[in-house]
Symmetry: C2
Subunit: 219 residues, 2 copies
């Protein structure tokens, strides 16, 4: 797997919990609360207090004040900074099949300040249409679009046989991070971040967990 | 996160590589090859030889014979045993929206001996239809279906507000492992395996990787 030496020191499971904290803190601020303790957060969100403290320590250097807790505004700033809310974070998708459409209409990306702006496909019938309000263009226009919009993220949901070609097209146009759903190993230039997604392996992982729970060690 | 103490000793990234080995070994066996070395595998699949040796050691107790390599048939049996090919491995999906449909038509699950057999939805217009050849039923019929088919895996792709209700329905009917795509914490009975999937957190993880590559430490 490429780039594992650059793995951030936070698990994806912890990352999945962060937007909920942010939503909660915004609500607290809107209610005029100046401070909040990790105990209060864990009670209100019905979460393990140890996990809450660990999560907050991972994403923020802001420390709680004795008897007062965290400064709500400072903690919001720290989390938004961690999530990169102030960075360019637009993505394009190549491959507007079932999976591409699902991602184009997936509502959760904005929780992380990420936005999929357009889809690209080989199918001439799709070019010029929209999905969930996002424009779909011919794959031949991907390079110009990425250069013009300085898009950083590329999502690959084309069939395996086309994935490397699309990856080359993307990185050649300036894409610096690829989220790959095609079941194939991509060769990428140095300095390009990669995350492979394999839905089947994910379900298979659940199967192994079940067997471990049942004491049927698959090893 | 529930059940982390039962986490299998293999990463999802390694798990994602396994079906490719199996396909390769079946081809070797069909060609009449009796033995294959890890060096040969790594060359033929264009993979790092150290990674290949580690992967094979994780999934199989079969060891290579000096100068001969692995017995192809034994290695195939070991991998298929590891992946649970001889176990019941059927799944149902609750929530046949865009994401549910994507999973119903996703081709890769069979690589792991897993099969999604039916979808369930609240929408009465969907009941009685099919998607990718899979029947869609009313959610009210989920419990009977699961009991009758002794289904083990449940996939939750309903909105967050409905996810706990669906999880209760599933575990009440005998489902023992849940793959949850709803952005919500599920309370499950002891002994039920859980894997939460958060697509937004996955894309956010790529964003953190990119920042680490660029030397912009998000901490």
């Amino acid at each position: 797997m490429a780039n594992t030496k650059n793995e951030p020191h936070i698990s994806q499971a912890a990352l999945a919990r962060i937007p909920r904290y942010l939503l909660y803190l915004h609500k607290k601020r809107d209610q005029g609360e100046r401070y909040v303790s990790s105990t209060e957060i864990s009670q209100d969100l019905n979460r393990n207090p140890v996990q809450v403290r660990k999560d907050l320590a991972l994403i923020s250097k802001v420390s709680g004040k004795p008897k007062l807790g965290f400064d709500v505004g400072e903690l919001i700033d720290a989390i938004e900074g961690f999530l990169g809310y102030r960075r360019q974070s637009e993505a394009v998708i190549a491959g507007v099949g079932q999976l591409g459409k699902t991602l184009l209409s997936y509502p959760g990306f904005s929780d992380y300040g990420l936005k999929i702006t357009a889809g690209f496909d080989l199918n001439p019938k799709l070019a010029g249409t929209t999905h969930n309000g996002k424009p779909i263009y011919d794959i031949a226009d991907l390079s110009d679009y990425v250069k013009q919009h300085k898009t950083v993220f590329g999502v690959i949901t084309v069939p395996a046989a086309a994935a490397q070609t699309v990856a080359d097209l993307m990185t050649g146009a300036g894409i610096r991070a690829i989220w790959n759903f095609a079941p194939v190993h991509l060769s990428l230039p140095d300095g390009v971040a990669l995350k492979n997604e394999n839905m089947a392996a994910s379900l298979a992982m659940l199967s192994l967990r079940l067997r471990a729970l049942e004491g049927d060690d698959p090893q």
